[in-house]
Amino acid sequence: MNWVNKISTRFWENSLLVFGLWLIVAAQSMAVPQEINPALDSVRPHDATMGELFYKTKQGYTAGTFLHGEVDIVVTGLLVKAHVRQVFENLTADWQEATYVFPLPDNAAVHAMRVKTGDRIIEGEIQEKAAARKTYNQAKSQGKRAALVEQQRPNMFTTDVSHIAPGDKVEVEIEYLQQLALKDGIVQVRFPTTITPRYTPQITLQKQSETGTTELSGEEATNTLLDETYRQPPMVANGWQSAGLESLGVAGPPVVLPADVARDSHRMQVKMSIAPGFMVDGIHSLTHSLHGNFVDSSDVHGVSGGHYEVNLGMNDTLMNRDLVVEWSPARQSEPQLALYTEQVRGNTYGLVFMTPPTAENVSTLARELIFVIDTSGSMGGRPMAHAIQVLHKALSGLSTQDRFNVIRFSSDASAFAPNPLPATAANVQAAHAYADNLSANGGTEMSGALTLALDRGSDSQTFLRQIVFITDGSVSNEQALFSQIEQSLGQASLFTVGIGTAPNSYFMRKAAEFGRGTFTQIDHESQIESLISQMLAKLGAPLLRDIQVVWPAGIKADVYPGRLPDLYAGDPLVFTFRVPGEVNNVDLTVQGTRADNGRGQAAWQKPLQFSVDQNGVKKGLDKLWARSRIAYLKDEHVRGVAKDVASKEILSTALTYGLVSDVTSLVAVDHTPVRETNDNDLTKTQVASLLPDGMANNMLRYPKTNNGSFLQLLMGALGLLFGYCLFWRKHA
């Protein structure tokens, strides 16, 4: 008995020992930041680079600021009023200055900003860009809380907030107006939430490093493809920019994964209230799951017929892809015309949406289709797969009389064939195989691809030349590319197909506009089939061209866009106008040239007469008109109008109508200092942007290279040993 007891005690001891060992190993393996093995130093000459960035700021920048978004979107008919609230919470022990780069819809008219802390609300005011920055910097140096909202590109903005106390929250609310359109029978609201890293061409960077500035003379700007003097975000690698702003001394994190930001950070709550103004087949989204219901009240919109209240459910939504919400008119209720009018400060403003006459859009000419596909690094992952699918679909849609070619580009551009080939079965088959072998990698040198696509002159008499551009538009030299399209398009037309979950819609829409084509965005794989067939059907000649708005003699109306684009079947005609004085009736005629069912062309016109709304409801049509005017003035610069002339006009328009533009910003200053003037140290933090959903992160990130098999083997072996001891304890 005695020896049995002895053995059993020994067993207990042994078991405890094993258990203890197991605990030690387990605990060790849980400890994540491992010490570097000093023995390795001898083989690593450059180990000083290791972890350098990580220790630059005390907390590591990604966790420094907590970001929460709240988005309220009210849609009345085709007009959008949106409130975007960005809540910044300082997670560090230091006073903080936060900078956040964020996207907004590219036709957003940003007209108001206010800062809220606790009960205090400070309203922002519009100032010239440089003056606004000066106001902000001055307030900052005086220990005052201030906020600044700047436009970096038409769809990329920044918010700066100074003096956020440790553990404190500051809310910046931004208001914008936007107009929607009924296109291809669908009304779509798009709210972008993150920015795909943009690419800056090498030639621009070269220039930048030589002169130390991005400011160039007008001629230089055109020659070097550089257009803007915006704050340039830092490079991730070789021309790729993150959404960070390292040039301003801000330690900018690259685009990060949701796991890299503070827990529950970078999420937003979205509420939408939609009064479509016509019978709809419900409200849909291909990007998010929608919740909500129909409310039969006119409280929110002031219009009868009720509205839909829509949200994204109980949980907050990650800010890593565009939110797209759509609705379509029910059968028989498709509106042909929508008119909005408003009298503001002695002027009458109007916004007109028209669906042009539908007709069989048959072209007798055979087509020469040039597919240009973006294979740059930002397309990596799902975007590349979708782009290839689009190409397959488009290739299958070719008819035997057509000619075609495929051009791919990243850091360089190359073509499937030296010259466009007839679309024979064998050629198309070879092109399909070519498409399958494409992979995403390198920069986005788009200009070369455009040259290749546009300059291959062929007889446009017998072939209708069309270019289909498949890309995510992640470039930062938009204006220069527009110039190139404008100058070398000739008889061709350019269609853009947008890919990715956070595309640069501004580039896509404008490129198609300058290219006299249309823009199709693919938000979901399921759309490829239908949207590409729709686009291919449009690829005939435009339905309506040379469109003009004619006013009765004596009325001096300002219509924007100043040049109305050609329309393809399904495209809406949208324009805004301003008529001096408070007129009661508007009487105008829209006219153009219409493709007449393959029989040539015919003049077309449509008179519009309507009385002006005088109910005093503020729709903000004056601001939307001013936004259209600014967009037109920017386009005029691309078309060759001197930049300073355009800028001056933009400045006066933006200041008069209180809009954020590339020359004006909103700034808010709380005149009661939050800190002592002599106690002004601030940690600058750059709030990270999330990597767009579906985009491969291996352009930016190292792969995960641990299988975990060692851990499993070790834990398994120890567990078995321990269990074995326990099991046989009494049997010994």
């Binding site: 093995n37 960035l53 690698a237 299988n707 098999s709 326990l726």
Partner: protein
């Protein structure tokens, strides 16, 4: 009497507990083994696909439902120094690996993978290959500056790269170099770091090599 039944009861609980622990442990162990076995077997199956690739088949798949295929063959042999010329290590540190077309989590279980780039061995630019530390790329621990790594491209040609730089980076903060950052052919091998810790971490071990011409400056290069 009472004491005995209590004993029996506790003994029974203990046995159930023990069996539970052993079952869990066995599952964990076998999963670990499975990962290791999968890594070995996949490489073996890939050999056949590689032979077909060299014979001209495009995207030769190792098994019919695979979505991976070999794009290069990687060869590394520790160059013997005079002292260890006859040591056992010389024979064990000989690695032949097939590199896959992609470096996704799934693909990496079967072999090291090429990262989002279509750069072929011998072409200008960084050819970046990632691999698991606990299976295929464990040998990187013993790679030192000056070592030669050989890559065979799909056109059967061999390309020699000489290791010129080894570093550890924090993957949460540092980016991979862009493939077109250099104009000469370069090779980057990436795996997890440290090698001898069982858990996951954000550190990566990066081996950088530049293409060299086959030479015979005292060293024997056998392929």
């Amino acid at each position: 009497m009472r004491r005995k039944s209590k004993n029996r009861k506790s003994k029974k609980t203990m046995r159930w507990l023990a069996m539970g622990i052993m079952t869990l442990a066995a599952l964990s162990f076998s999963n670990g083994l499975y990962i290791q076995a999968k890594a070995e077997v996949a490489q073996w199956l890939l050999q056949d696909a590689w032979v077909r690739t060299l014979a001209g088949e495009a995207q030769a798949k190792p098994w019919s439902w695979a979505d991976i295929w070999p794009v290069a063959s990687l060869h590394y042999r520790k160059q013997p120094t005079s002292t260890e010329l006859f040591s056992e290590e010389l024979f064990s540190d000989d690695h032949d690996l097939l590199v896959l077309n992609e470096a996704s989590g799934q693909g990496l279980a079967f072999g090291p993978g090429r990262l989002a780039s279509n750069i072929q061995p011998g072409e200008p630019g960084w050819l970046i290959i990632g691999g698991h530390r606990d299976t295929h790329f464990g040998f990187l621990e013993r790679v030192t500056q000056g070592d030669t790594i050989a890559l065979q491209s799909t056109d059967s040609r061999w390309h020699l790269y000489e290791v010129d730089h080894i570093q550890v980076v924090d993957s949460t903060n540092e980016m991979l170099p862009a493939p077109d950052e250099i104009s000469e052919p370069g090779l980057i091998l990436v795996t997890c770091y440290p090698f001898d810790v069982v858990s996951n971490g954000s550190l990566r071990y990066v081996v950088m090599a530049k293409k060299v011409q086959p030479h015979d400056n005292g060293r024997v290069i056998t392929l």
